[in-house]
Symmetry: C2
Subunit: 199 residues, 2 copies
DNA sequence: CACTATACATAACAGTGCTATGTATAGTGC
DNA sequence: GCACTATACATAGCACTGTTATGTATAGTG
């Protein structure tokens, strides 16, 4: 029942149907109280959806198999991040919407950690300068990805603006010590995985 | 009356008091209908608040007087942008919250335009490569600013993370053709205006 | 001075999340 | 097998939300 409600909520989110306590349980044959036994209220449902969103994101990032080129992998992670955000924008909005704030700090940690590991690999491979702080560079990559994803899903920028990720990440990685030409090539190859799902 | 309601709503937003139709008019001696005559409903109030937010942001950016160093000014614009977002996070959230989407496209245009003009100035001064697309670089700077502002005001990153703006903008501007050492210096000087208001 | 439009007030309506209270079922100790 | 208890719901109602239908007083206008 719990997962049924979660799936239904996710589906209503995708179809842009308003997700309210009563519209959620309508059709399931179950009453409004079920939401309280399983989630403790609507806030609990949103939290569960948020975790679901991060789980889906983590899975999407994990699908970016590590290759010999760690810089390519970093760009591929960025592309996968954007694809995830654009394909389910409502879920993405919930994930980064304040209001629940500080309820489960570190929900996004796994996302950041996969970036950190890849930066470390790139540094170990000699692509970035020896003194590079992995967390710092990973955070900056994340900020770029989130900035683009947020501006596109919120409306101000058209979906085509996602392409800015290529020069931005290239600039960031080059500044971290990677050789410009090789960096551009790696990022372009990693970015090739970006495909916006046709409606 | 209209501006009284707007100011009151902005104040309630600042003090984190829930802004509802009835709490808004309570104490003003006026009834709920006033909101409908002036704003056409709560959605209209949010739209007005959003415009208020953009006006305040535009004013904040305009206060960054142009100096002889256009790259410094670009960084100063970024810092001013972040200060504005962090000082009134709720207003910032409303500005970039979807839901009203596409109601007034181009509300953020003035924000972007001030960046575009400064990029053009920097290019004319020979700081950026001749072929630099001003809109492109301005958009990328915006994405960095918004990414940091959003992640900080939403919770995942601590306020100290705003400092990432310096290396990120430096990397971006250097990639655009500016000389690394001089760029770092300009950005640092422009960033010096960033002061988080003490609570 | 009649007429009309504006600017509200009053009251009610449907919808929201939530809770208090009931009930049926499943598990558990004896 | 049987009382006992906890779980998993259902039913009904509460306080609150935004919205609207209707009234009314005032200001402007021919």
């Amino acid at each position: 029942m719990r997962s049924l409600l979660l799936e239904r909520a996710a589906h209503m989110l995708r179809t842009r149907a308003p997700v309210t306590l009563r519209t959620l349980v309508a059709g399931t044959g179950v009453s409004t109280m079920a939401v309280y036994t399983y989630f403790g209220g609507m806030d609990g449902l949103w939290r569960a959806l948020r975790q679901e969103g991060f789980s889906r994101l983590t899975a999407g990032l994990a699908a970016v198999g590590p290759t010999a080129d760690a810089v390519r992998d970093l760009a591929a992670l960025g592309a996968a991040y954007l694809v995830n955000a654009v394909e389910s924008p409502d879920l993405y909005r919930i994930m980064f919407d304040a209001g629940f704030d500080l309820e489960d700090p570190g929900a996004a940690d796994e996302t950041l950690h996969s970036l950190v590991r890849t930066v470390e690999r790139a540094t170990a491979d000699g692509r970035f300068a020896a003194g590079t702080d992995p967390l710092e560079l990973a955070t900056q990559s994340w900020a770029i990805g989130h900035g683009l994803a947020s501006l596109v899903t919120s409306g101000p920028l058209p979906p085509a603006a996602l392409a800015h990720g290529v020069p931005m990440l290239t600039a960031l990685f080059t500044a971290a010590g990677d050789e410009p030409g090789r960096c551009r090539d790696s990022v372009a190859r990693g970015w090739a995985g970006l495909r916006t799902a046709a409606p």
